[in-house]
Subunit: 257 residues, 4 copies
Amino acid sequence: MMDVIREGDDILLYLDGKRTYLVRVEKDVSFHTHKGYLQLGDLIGREFGASIRSNLGVEFYALKPLVRDYILKMRRRTQILYPKDMGLIVLLTGIGPGSRVVEAGTGSGAMTVVLANLVRPEGRVYSYEIREEFLKDAEANLRRAGLYDYVELKHRDITEGIEEEDVDAVILDLAVPWLVVPHAYRSLKGSGVLASFSPTIEQVMKTVEAIREHPFVEVETVEVLMRRMNVGKNRTRPETRMIGHTGYITTARKVLA
Amino acid sequence: MMDVIREGDDILLYLDGKRTYLVRVEKDVSFHTHKGYLQLGDLIGREFGASIRSNLGVEFYALKPLVRDYILKMRRRTQILYPKDMGLIVLLTGIGPGSRVVEAGTGSGAMTVVLANLVRPEGRVYSYEIREEFLKDAEANLRRAGLYDYVELKHRDITEGIEEEDVDAVILDLAVPWLVVPHAYRSLKGSGVLASFSPTIEQVMKTVEAIREHPFVEVETVEVLMRRMNVGKNRTRPETRMIGHTGYITTARKVLA
Amino acid sequence: MMDVIREGDDILLYLDGKRTYLVRVEKDVSFHTHKGYLQLGDLIGREFGASIRSNLGVEFYALKPLVRDYILKMRRRTQILYPKDMGLIVLLTGIGPGSRVVEAGTGSGAMTVVLANLVRPEGRVYSYEIREEFLKDAEANLRRAGLYDYVELKHRDITEGIEEEDVDAVILDLAVPWLVVPHAYRSLKGSGVLASFSPTIEQVMKTVEAIREHPFVEVETVEVLMRRMNVGKNRTRPETRMIGHTGYITTARKVLA
Amino acid sequence: MMDVIREGDDILLYLDGKRTYLVRVEKDVSFHTHKGYLQLGDLIGREFGASIRSNLGVEFYALKPLVRDYILKMRRRTQILYPKDMGLIVLLTGIGPGSRVVEAGTGSGAMTVVLANLVRPEGRVYSYEIREEFLKDAEANLRRAGLYDYVELKHRDITEGIEEEDVDAVILDLAVPWLVVPHAYRSLKGSGVLASFSPTIEQVMKTVEAIREHPFVEVETVEVLMRRMNVGKNRTRPETRMIGHTGYITTARKVLA
């Protein structure tokens, strides 16, 4: 069925390819932009995707925010994972509705939001983070995306251990993943998947070495590159600048010794 | 809780990094390999990840198949999408539990399996395919993966129209995506996402041109490359050979004119 | 033998990885930097690679400029070719001492400088350019690099014809290379090499189509990517940002019909 | 002037994109292929690029071999450098007519051929190799390409020292480049360039560490990727398979401490 905008809904207000705003629709509140102000309340009862004009006559569109929009607009203190990396981690770990996943560190909650969206409503994400200020950001980000109910944020040092047992996947994005490998092995159910994301090759080397000291199989490390294309008559070409590196993804599957 | 192997379950029998077998566990049936034969019935009641020895003493592991394993072992007649591309499509379309998705062409059902796994149990995948023999393969592949209930396979030519309305996403992987763009626009709910995968740049050009003739925003085309790394003491390096190209991914979001 | 700095020589004054200056060594002239001023005349008689301190005690090194330094420091109005692309063009065309090469457009003269350096002293570069202000830049850049004697700058529109005959290679870096293909065919000696550099795929398509209408063999198009690595203890990784695209290189070899 | 084929000349006999043969033109000698045999002597006096038919009427072309053809057809025992890497090394080291270059290991002589072609006639390549059988291959390969006169092949272990002084560049492609760095520093003239090619990241780390223990500046490591494009109406796209990695190139310039 059609998706109708209701009071209190978030919308991604779209002006152009470079300017979008994640805002809440409320009655009697006007939203100011450099292209004039908008009466967001006028959107109530209309379908997502509807257009709205500012008092200066500039047209905006009210998109329904996707998880990737919440991530893009997140309050953040650090680098977050890119869709290209998160997408491959999702495919390689096999996470889906009902999965129970341990994650560390929570950071701003970007991966947490993606995972929570996919494991709901029965699954759970157990997300470890030692820095309290990050947990607060993550909680705010998860609540805004409406996904907080599927997550257990844990203010704990995952290098000291993982409390959950028989989880489907452990996903690591922290500075010392190799210290977590023994805990991940114990926490995973048989055949469960470990995935670790690291920017440097030294981290990858140490993590792979730690993995090989435990009964894991299908130990693989990959790197993903994404390049944007400009498409248009007589100007079709890859973009001049691209992100040349985010990190390496290492995955492994637990077997029983 | 622990995942126990039951009679009738599929397992991914793991011998080494290059040799795995997707087989069904049945009593009194032995599975023959060049490393000897295995009594798969002995696995019943044991945890996934357990090891089993052939009569020649060679050890295998009984992994629980993930969606990516079902895809890798699919009966197929054509090229299928790669995890790197399917993962990014999932992230960019925002598909998750409950999503209603139109897909074409079904092909061998690789993307169908990924989508069905993520939209279940409430969502649905409507998958169009004109070649009957592909539909049969896809049905067999979906049934094997236990995901057939979440999919409606349609023996129809999607260039003639899409029956479903107000869908969350339309995902195209066929030779003439530009012919489907008008139908996709009508079928999508406001703010819904179109994603198209094409190997050639001419297909991308025509598709982007067709998209621009309709009220879509955030029209973007990207390419994803994945490179495997060899990791090990004094031999850490990217692999010599890689897949240099699979296709371009174009996405766009519907707005209401 | 040792290379000694003489009055009138250019040096590449090196402060650090981000700050270098291409300057002429003259007596009684001081060079001012934000790290103090240097008496460049003090370098006369010393070996290239020598260090010199500013009046503030900051150390600089006097490198002997390479062609790539002249290119980096060129007076330029447009994008110039990158070493990764110029290097491959040199290898694929087989240019070396004695080669006679036609080039268009001259632009700022970056490729001209590379070619002139390799064909000297017997070979020649015939470089076509229709924009007079570019030719002036190119002449200044070639003179500075000491390579002007090996080049004939031509203020002509190469789409109207090439005057030289029996040349070893024709190298194109202009907006409409396909218009030059017939002239290039006539200008090349039998077995000579055409190389064309273009940023967009439409240019490549048209150029390849034009090439195929003439007796050329080994028609190939490639793209070269270069990624920098950060190397250092526990921080080894590809750089975050990279140039994602400069252009495609198409090459072909003339045969006699 | 036109290049005429003479008795004793090498030609690259071109049949199609996948089949070429590097052969010597001699009177009264026929060359046999699966497409019939050719009287190569008939080519004498004709221009390079000329066509010749086999007794079965199949057309071949007589291309003048370029350095890259000699490399492709070399007698070889090991992996050789690719044009993409050799081209960038040429650009980054600034090698040209007159340069004096030390190289190790010689291997099959692929890089040696490229260097000899560019430094001739005044320059010299001093090429170190400890394996005698490689030196024999290299000598044969250099003689065939007509470049042996510009090279001094040295049956010596370069990790024990370099005899030449004040060279313009030292180019390393061997298993333990870091052991050669101190010798390279001594051998280079002030401002000379060291370039090292290594497949693994551990080699790069050790080499960069050794370089940093000596007075070098502009220490940089890069990786070059080349992807072929298929170009043609409605089938334009990057090729499916590509070489994903050959090695990393590290360069540095000597300064005087």
